[in-house]
């Protein structure tokens, strides 16, 4: 549990039975302690200051007593002189900033208040440093006064240095102005409350601060002037100081101040460094990138780069491009999460940066163990009870499934309980339930699971079908198919046929399935937490291989499917992968959409992220939004993709390219004509050019097809009746001649064929009319254009 905080302040008794050595209280680094120390110091000094002021007061009292006794008349005058002195003090200070007085021995307790001021000032200057972007000054040495100058000068130097650090003229003048006013205020406060506590003095300075913020930059005198005036003031105050101090005390003071100054400088520097790392990320040079740092440094750098990228315009370094930042980030991410660069690039393409980090973090964490209750043998509630009595802590996965349970912890191995062996449940990821739910199997259907091993999803299908109909479970891997057999028998599935066929050739064995589940083999980028080796050992070639296989499988699966017009309830294919790469998911489905007569339908899953309809350079079918993606960081299940397709007919649509080639083969002249027509159309500035053009292309294709068929058909059209008659006559004449009869019959068939062709021609003519109409429309459009 770690070390406990000391809530009760009771000290542990020493004695027998106690640990001789105890771990000490945690120590804080020096720079964190600084403030505390300062306070301590100031309090000590305050003490000293108080004593000193008491002495002074006593002296002053004595003096006053003497004065009162000796000259009563001059009392008023002396008071007036004092006032004058105050005014004098104030006047020069308005012109130039005045060093803060640090001497506690200063007259009339002024020093105490002043000192607290100066403390605050230090903090303020720090704060200013924090907020301002630190840049190197051309540290002007002129402000560094000689050593023989008084302590006040040192103090002043410090502030001036601080001011000079900022090259901005405005800010400088502002600060100078600020200081000036502060000093004034401090003085005023001290003047007003001569006998008051330091606290009040502080308040006065607080007021001063507030005013600072409001006050705009007054023109402060040149720094040289400052120095001069300081010098002048030094003389003023110097007398009083020297009078009360021993030389060794002075030296001590000097030393202390120096140390303080150094400390302040160091702190400021440190803060500056922090500022640089926090606010402005400095792009590392060549060697720095290569240099192996601790993972914490890498993480920090990643965070910085991501911050820069989140507000690139403001935070970037002007000579660095976004690409450079991204490359640096890529390298760091690869190093930190131990991915290879290829996969990380792919992931960066998929996710925006913030989501990417979430995904990577989620991929490091293992998913909770989930199990599916086998509805053929038990109910979820009974199973949960049985398992709880065995010391398993579990809960339903969610509202979206009635069979899933998530296991938090377990005292027994979940893969070997009697319930497991009796087939009451199967260990299965939550994401594996999704494709089956999307497939929505019905009873008495014929369903195929093309890549079924180890049989989790297939057994789920069988459970939903309630052991009716037929379930084909196929897998290409002979070793893995054994797991399917074992699981099916254990779970009590009796309606299955388990086959070991290459899915790409499945259509040679059997077709006409009502539903098919294709959980295609993939690179497994969605289950990085399960198999971290994927992070490093995948490259483009692997993905290409997978994509190729997936394309072949999905086409084969569609071929095995019975179409929607033939199957009453079916004709559905669910394509799923445990990868999140769009190449393996959306692109494959898009490929299927192009090459088979299928359409995407909603998956029926009401959560998850929509699939990509556009992805970088790919422009996919817009209906791909109906597919669903699941990520580890959003749903706490493995990364998954589910798409549901419905087969509309057995037609295999030709790609446009193929069609063109065929057309060109059919009539080479026609294509020329078409080209010329197209070029004409191109010249016309038709408003809806692209749409019309496509229409025209189709139309011209129809025309072309017609023309190619028309001429011979028309000829035959005219000849046919004659031929028929002739043949009939022949039949009448040569009845005995069987051969001729056969011939005639063949001819008759031909006639029938020709008639069919005639109908086609008629249809085509109708189309031609349409084309003509369209053309007219086009001309109209062109006319309108011209008018315009």
């Amino acid at each position: 549990m770690g070390r406990k905080a000391k809530f009760g302040e009771e000290k542990q008794k020493k004695g027998p039975g106690r640990k001789a050595k105890k771990q000490g209280d945690p120590s804080f680094p020096k720079h964190l302690k600084e403030n505390v120390e300062k306070k301590l110091k100031s309090s000590r000094q305050r003490k000293r200051a108080r004593i000193a002021t008491q002495k002074l007061e006593a002296k002053a009292l004595l003096k006053e007593m003497k004065k009162a006794a000796i000259i009563e008349e001059k009392k008023i005058k002396s008071a007036g002189k004092e006032n004058e002195g105050i005014i004098k003090k104030q006047v020069p200070r308005k012109k130039a900033p005045v060093p803060v007085l640090k001497e506690p021995e200063d007259s009339e307790g002024e020093g105490t208040t002043e000192y607290s001021d100066s403390d605050e000032e230090l903090q303020q200057s720090k704060a200013k440093k924090l907020t301002k972007t630190a840049k190197k000054s051309q540290a002007s040495k002129k402000n560094l006064f000689d050593e023989d100058q008084s302590e006040e000068d040192d103090d002043n130097d410090e502030y001036e240095d601080n001011d000079l650090d900022i090259p901005d003229d405005d800010s400088e003048s502002e600060e100078l102005g600020d200081e000036e006013i502060e000093d004034e205020e401090g003085d005023e406060g001290s003047d007003m409350g001569e006998e008051e506590d330091e606290v009040e003095g502080d308040e006065g300075s607080d007021v001063g601060e507030e005013e600072d913020e409001d006050s705009n930059a007054e023109d402060s005198g040149d720094e040289e002037e400052d120095g001069d005036s300081d010098g002048a003031q030094d003389d003023d105050y110097g007398d009083s100081d020297d009078s009360d101090m021993l030389p060794i005390e002075k030296a001590n003071k000097k030393l202390k101040k120096k140390m303080e100054k150094e400390k302040a400088d160091a702190a400021a520097e440190e803060l500056e460094m922090n500022v640089t790392t926090h606010d402005v990320f400095q792009f590392p040079e060549g060697e720095e990138v290569e240099k192996m740092e601790g993972l914490q440094d890498v993480q920090q750098r990643m965070k910085d780069v991501i911050m820069v990228l989140s507000d690139f315009k403001r935070l970037r370094e002007p000579n660095r491009s976004r690409k450079e930042y991204l490359e640096l980030l890529l390298k760091d991410l690869c190093l930190y999460y131990s991915y290879n660069e290829f996969l990380m690039e792919k992931l960066m393409e998929i996710f925006p940066l913030s989501e990417l980090m979430e995904f990577l973090e989620a991929s490091e964490v293992t998913r909770p163990v989930t199990l599916r209750a086998n509805s053929l043998k038990t109910r979820r509630r009974d199973l949960a009870q049985a398992l709880i009595s065995r010391g398993v802590n579990l809960d339903p996965i969610g509202k979206w499934t009635k069979v899933g349970l998530v296991v938090f912890n377990s005292q027994v191995p979940l893969g070997a309980t009697p319930e497991y062996l009796a087939g009451h449940y199967i260990l299965q990821g939550a994401s594996s339930l999704l494709p089956v739910m999307a497939l929505a199997p019905q009873e008495n259907e014929r369903i195929l699971d093309m890549c079924s091993a180890p049989g989790g999803k297939a057994s789920h299908i069988a459970a939903i079908m309630k052991n009716t109909g037929v379930l084909f479970a196929n897998d290409a891997n002979k070793d893995r198919i054994k797991a399917v057999v074992g699981n099916f028998h254990r779970l009590g599935i009796v309606n299955s046929v388990i086959t070991n066929v290459d899915g790409r050739k499945y259509s040679t064995i059997m077709k006409g399935f009502d539903r098919i589940l294709l959980d295609a083999p993939c690179t497994g980028t969605g289950v990085l937490s399960k198999d971290p080796s994927v992070k490093t050992n995948k490259d483009q070639a692997d993905i290409d291989k997978c994509v190729n296989l997936q394309r072949e499988l999905i086409l084969s699966a569609i071929d095995c499917l019975s179409s929607a017009d033939k199957s009453k309830s079916g004709g559905y294919l669910v394509y799923s992968t445990c990868s999140i790469l769009p190449e393996e998911n959306e692109c494959v489905v898009d490929f299927a959409l192009k090459h088979r007569d299928v359409r995407l339908v909603p998956t029926g899953l009401d959560f998850g992220v929509d699939g990509f309809a556009n992805f970088r350079q790919h422009r996919l079918h817009p209906s791909l939004k109906l597919s669903k993606r699941f990520y580890p960081h959003t749903q706490n299940m493995d990364g998954f993709f589910v798409a549901k397709l419905q087969k509309l007919s057995n037609k295999i649509p030709q790609s446009r390219k193929e069609r063109r080639i065929e057309e060109a083969m059919e009539n080479p002249e026609g294509s020329d004509k078409e080209d010329s027509e197209e070029s004409q159309e191109d010249e016309k500035p038709v408003p809806k050019k692209s749409g019309n053009k496509r229409k025209m292309e189709e139309i011209t294709k129809v025309i072309k097809g017609d023309k190619s068929q028309k001429k011979p058909k028309l000829d035959s059209d005219q000849q046919l009746p004659k031929g028929q008659k002739r043949h009939v006559q022949n039949v009448a004449k040569n009845r005995r001649n069987l051969f001729k009869m056969v011939k005639n019959r063949r001819n008759l068939f031909k006639v029938a064929k020709n008639r069919r062709n005639l109908f086609k021609i008629l249809k085509n003519r109708k189309n031609l009319f349409r084309v003509a109409k369209n053309r007219k429309n086009l001309f109209k459009v062109a006319k309108n254009r011209r008018k315009l």
């Binding site: 062996l421 037929v470 028998h489 388990i498």
Partner: protein, 180 residues
């Protein structure tokens, strides 16, 4: 998939009869359609006619399993029941033994049933009779042959074997590879 020869059919049915007796009839004459036994690579499968028809379209190498596997023929042409047949044996079993929860685990590891582990036993179980083993909450765990008649069991010592293990559901894990 081929039809069992008469000889093999006989040995299969004899074996089944040991466990479910006259209930074999219920396996063959079912109200929900025609069911049949078929042999494939020396293994005996039990499935409905509809599944059989579809399974026939696969060739011998492609087909791994159809319906439920009941057991296999050994090289000496004896029929041996597999644990996968339990789905059909359990509901039709004539003689049963129920195990105490403490003995379940032992049995699932392939051990025989001892007197101390036996919770209940069907009355009038003869010696060397096929029995199906259940847990106390009626979950089928396996099957075996009774080593003692019911009457003898009452007087046996606690460590005496009352039933020999012939198959238990632990085999799904122990020898998954040899199930088919």
């Amino acid at each position: 998939m081929k039809i069992l020869s008469d000889e093999r059919t006989k040995s299969v049915f004899e074996k089944l009869a040991k466990f479910i007796g006259g209930n074999i009839k219920l396996l063959i004459d079912r109200p929900d359609g025609k069911y049949c036994f078929r042999e494939h690579k020396d293994r005996v499968y039990y499935m409905s006619q509809a599944i059989l028809d579809l399974a026939l379209s696969c060739n011998k190498e492609q087909l791994i399993c159809a319906g439920t596997c009941f057991g296999k023929f050994t090289k000496t042409n004896k029929f041996r029941l597999h644990i996968t047949a339990l789905n059909y044996l359990a509901p039709y079993a004539q003689y049963k033994i129920w195990l105490k929860p403490s003995a379940e685990q032992q049995f699932l590891y392939g051990h025989h049933v001892l007197k101390s582990g036996m919770g209940r036993i069907t009355e009038n179980t003869p010696k060397n009779q096929g029995v199906v083993i259940f847990s106390m909450n009626d979950m089928p765990l396996g099957f075996g042959t009774s080593a003692k008649a019911t009457a003898d069991c009452k007087h046996a010592d606690p460590i005496a074997i009352v039933c020999f293990n012939q198959g238990d559901i632990g085999e799904y894990i122990r020898n998954e590879d040899t199930l088919i």
